[in-house]
């Protein structure tokens, strides 16, 4: 009994901060895992529409992104205001899509080629004409898994 009392009275150690770096590193690794490095700079403005029946895209390495929208302010002088396609980090044409898909395929093991999804990130105000052209080109290239990127409608019940 007296032993305990003695100890308590004596020790007034400073709180050890030795584990602080470990905690911060843990946070760091957490963020490194859950986030993705910001990919290509967007040259077209894309505000995806709202929807309710959404499904998640699982593996990032199996997804390629096709952006469609009006060029942003900076590029308007050169490219005008009509909706354009962006593949990777540059403006592209419908005819560039097969090559783009092929280049992405090379990075994926062959056994998983069937799981590649194209994510269409299309601005809500775009007309269907250009989207239809892209869809037709995707079908011709045999890329049939497509995801129309959308946001969850904030007022939906589910």
């Amino acid at each position: 009994m007296s032993k305990f009392a003695k100890k308590r009275g004596k020790a007034t150690p400073a709180i050890s901060t030795a584990s602080l770096p470990d905690i911060i590193f843990m946070l760091l690794f957490f963020f490194m895992v859950v986030t993705v490095l910001r990919d290509a700079e967007l040259k077209v403005s894309v505000v995806t529409p709202f929807a309710t029946e959404l499904s998640k895209l699982e593996e990032k390495s199996l997804v390629n992104y096709i952006y469609i929208g009006k060029p942003t302010e900076r590029y308007r002088e050169i490219y005008g205001t009509k909706p354009r396609i962006q593949l990777g980090d540059k403006f592209a044409d419908v005819h560039d899509i097969p090559l783009f898909l092929e280049l992405h395929k090379q990075k994926v093991p062959e056994s998983r080629h069937g799981l590649i999804t194209s994510s269409l990130r299309v601005d809500g105000l775009t007309t269907m004409g250009i989207v239809q052209d892209v869809k037709t080109q995707l079908r011709k290239s045999g890329q049939l898994r497509v995801n129309y990127s959308a946001k969850k409608r904030p007022d939906s019940k589910k």
């Binding site: 770096p21 760091l28 529409p49 499904s55 037709t136 011709k140 898994r145 995801n147």
Partner: protein
């Protein structure tokens, strides 16, 4: 001797380690994004040169949805609001009253979606969303009735397959018209 050794192996001051880690953390917070990668997943039909022949289907089994360049809807030759589309489509597919003009059976029902090149993508996706929602609700109802669990991606694959076989999601997208493109 022992004393001097003790002094030499003094602990390295690690208090700045936390600051370094913080710096790294902040760097990653700034350069990365938590992207919401969500969307409506569809499977496009393979490309074929000839047009699919929808004429040979009975008209009572075809649910035609037309969207024009003014973003207006024409469902089975009647104008409709997008808000009403889901309920209407559900009634068509399940046909609970066994009406003569609605689908004979969910397996026979086919949705034909046609839009204009001038239709807004936003409207198109909303229409697609409602049609998909109608099927999702029907799947959910069937799943609740038969298995007592809600329809979800996580449910057993056999159940899902059975439900999908009973109410298959068949949507045919025709080549769009070209009246309204700017």
């Amino acid at each position: 001797m022992g004393k001097s050794k003790n002094r030499g192996s003094n602990e390295i001051n690690a208090s700045s380690m936390a600051d370094i880690a913080f710096l790294l953390l902040i760097f990653f917070l700034v350069t990365t994004t938590i992207v919401e990668d969500k969307g409506i997943t569809v499977r496009l039909p393979p490309w074929s040169e000839e047009e699919p022949d929808i004429q040979k289907l009975k008209t009572r089994n075809v649910y035609s949805v037309l969207v024009n360049a003014q973003n207006q809807l024409l469902v089975r030759n009647e104008p409709m609001r997008i808000e009403d589309l889901r309920e209407h489509a559900k009634e068509f597919i399940s046909n609970p009253m066994k009406r003569e003009d609605l689908a004979e059976d969910p397996t026979m029902a086919i949705i034909s979606l046609k839009n204009d090149r001038g239709t807004n993508y936003d409207t198109y996706l909303r229409v697609y969303n409602e049609l998909k929602g109608a099927y999702n609700e029907l799947w959910d109802e069937l799943s609740q009735r038969r298995y007592g669990i809600p329809f979800s991606e996580e449910m057993p694959a056999a159940y899902k397959k059975a439900i999908r076989a009973e109410i298959p999601f068949v949507i045919s997208e025709a080549e769009p018209t070209n009246f309204g493109e700017e």
